[in-house]
Symmetry: C2
Subunit: 342 residues, 2 copies
């Protein structure tokens, strides 16, 4: 349509047709290694070398998962990709390709959409995974629905249901940073090193994708992407496997994370590292960090990138124990909602 | 959570947690034949027997693609599935599995969501394709983002770019019904046989999925899902293939469809089957019917379910001709938008 694309600085998506907008976005998408047919036809074709495709979908909704005044288009694209990449990694699969269904209000700037495409691409690029297709529509709020695909490379998928009593409970990735970052943004805390690390953890989380694949290769028996909080997601493994996950004291198991987050809690008026306390609550119940929680046979030990954070025991009255106490009563969070009650 | 699920007649989604809502929806989803790991873990695993997966995503947005006062949840689920199934069929692939990212305002009734799940499942069931995963979120409008997967069964994908001069242009499925149905709903036309057929074409379109697969098996050279109008989608094949698609007079090529739609046009005050006229415009420019437009070598002839609607000729000044006239001038629709100008 435009042999010489016009300068669209400041233009909004309402000023372009879908075709024109896609023509600006496609060149920003990195090639996926597994792409056999890329964007531009009715559908894409993605390689599935071992005859199986891992698939998961996750949506980000404006004013519910992000705010456009806090998150750039790049941030939103990055997060949308990362939360999906984490889901295939939690099966032990290597990400191969993404598709994106994007709903946008007319007042969104074209530049914001281009930034979103860059964020999606950059987040997926380390695994050679790219955006192979998409759909664009107008709507009352920005909604980014990403579907991700992955390859198990011949391995069995690592399910939530494989944990066995005697396994080590292991974790890879950061804990509590996204929750602390959201709290810091909500309170408009001044920027310092700790606050910045937390904000970055919320705006551009880095999922423990490599660790997920490493755990699968090492023989992990169960795994989950920690998207809704350590306790809540530990409970999902426990329920699916019919066991109890006995987690170590989080201020010790995640002492480094706790130390990093303590100044953020202090700036919010919290006493610090105690129980109850904000830091402990962030580590136990904070969502959206996209670390990997896995169980591995004790003789295997923690796979690369993982730390030991507990052990699997025979199913007792409670599905999750934290430092020996029932999580629902002793830990300071709501049983169903995973919401901190501190 | 609920050993005996409560009666939720009239309840809205705001009254349930995501987990509770999913627990009501999962049992409504038919098993997909290709499902290796279904809903409930971090991701699903879908069989891809020939080492490739066809993938496409399409979104339906409330008040843009549907209205809740016209479309039931079942209708919306059906349409969301069908428009996606059409995309993989247009590559010549058999649908295998869908995932759904659903954004819902809090006032949507639980029953509406259950109906949507049934509509999705029923639309995909004939091909043994089921919903293998999903995500639910609140939001200001209902947004249904479906991603569909398909299997090429060892065949090459049928792209838009394969048309060659001398090919027959063939079409399977209905034409103009969705546009006529939308017009009938907008004008609140009284129900009669023709109006009902048109309304059904809008509310629950039936994509020509089997025909797409049959065309691929028969050796179709190019194919597209007709979602944006016959002329507009013919232009996409022409552009991708570097040819011109010379379409026959639509009132003759689609005489049966024209006859069916004529009473709807008459009820709207249109003279009927002439040029310009509503029926001709619906057939040429109406979207969302999800027929298949393909080109096949002349010696192959129309595959099962297809009719001949034109021929491929060497690229001339215009990408699409209708009854020998340039589509942009002679047919009564906008060159870029595919919008009827009648």
């Amino acid at each position: 349509m435009h042999p010489n694309p016009p300068d669209l600085t400041g233009a909004t998506v309402a000023e372009l047709s879908e075709t024109e907008l896609l023509a600006r976005v496609f060149p920003l998408l990195a090639d996926a290694r597994a792409t056999l047919v890329g964007p531009g036809d009715d559908a894409a074709v993605v390689a599935a070398p071992d005859g199986r495709t891992v698939v998961s979908t996750d949506v980000l909704v404006e004013d519910r998962h992000f705010r456009r005044e806090w998150s750039s288009g790049y941030d939103v694209g990055w997060r949308a990709a990362m939360q999906n990449l984490a889901d295939v990694a939690a099966m032990g699969a290597v990400p191969t390709a993404l598709v994106v269904a994007l709903t946008l209000p007319g007042d969104v700037e074209v530049r914001w959409v281009e930034d979103l495409a860059r964020g999606l691409s950059d987040a997926a690029a380390p695994w050679g995974a790219g955006v192979v297709g998409g759909d664009l529509s107008g709507g009352p709020a920005a909604v980014v629905a990403v579907t991700v695909h992955g390859s198990l490379e011949g391995r069995d998928p690592v399910l939530r249901s494989g944990a066995r009593a005697g396994d080590l409970v292991v974790h890879a990735g950061v804990r509590g940073r996204s929750a602390a970052g959201l709290a810091a943004l909500s309170a408009a805390l001044p920027a310092d090193e700790a606050t910045e690390a937390a904000r970055a953890g919320y705006l551009r989380p880095v999922a423990a994708v490599d660790a997920g694949v490493a755990a699968a290769r090492a023989g992990a028996r169960a795994m989950i992407d920690v998207s809704d909080g350590l306790v809540r997601d530990a409970r999902r493994i426990a329920a699916a496997s019919g066991v109890t996950l006995a987690l170590d004291e989080p201020l010790e198991a995640f002492a480094d994370e706790a130390e990093l987050l303590a100044p953020v809690a202090a700036a919010l008026g919290d006493p610090g590292l105690g129980d109850p306390g904000l830091v402990r609550a962030w580590i136990l119940t904070g969502g959206e960090d996209h670390g990997m929680l896995a169980t591995v046979p004790r003789e295997v030990g923690p796979p690369e990138g993982f730390r030991v954070v507990g052990e699997v025991v025979e199913r007792s009255e409670h599905e999750v124990l934290v430092a020996g106490e029932a999580a629902a009563r002793g830990g300071g969070w709501d049983h169903f909602g995973g919401t901190a009650r501190v």
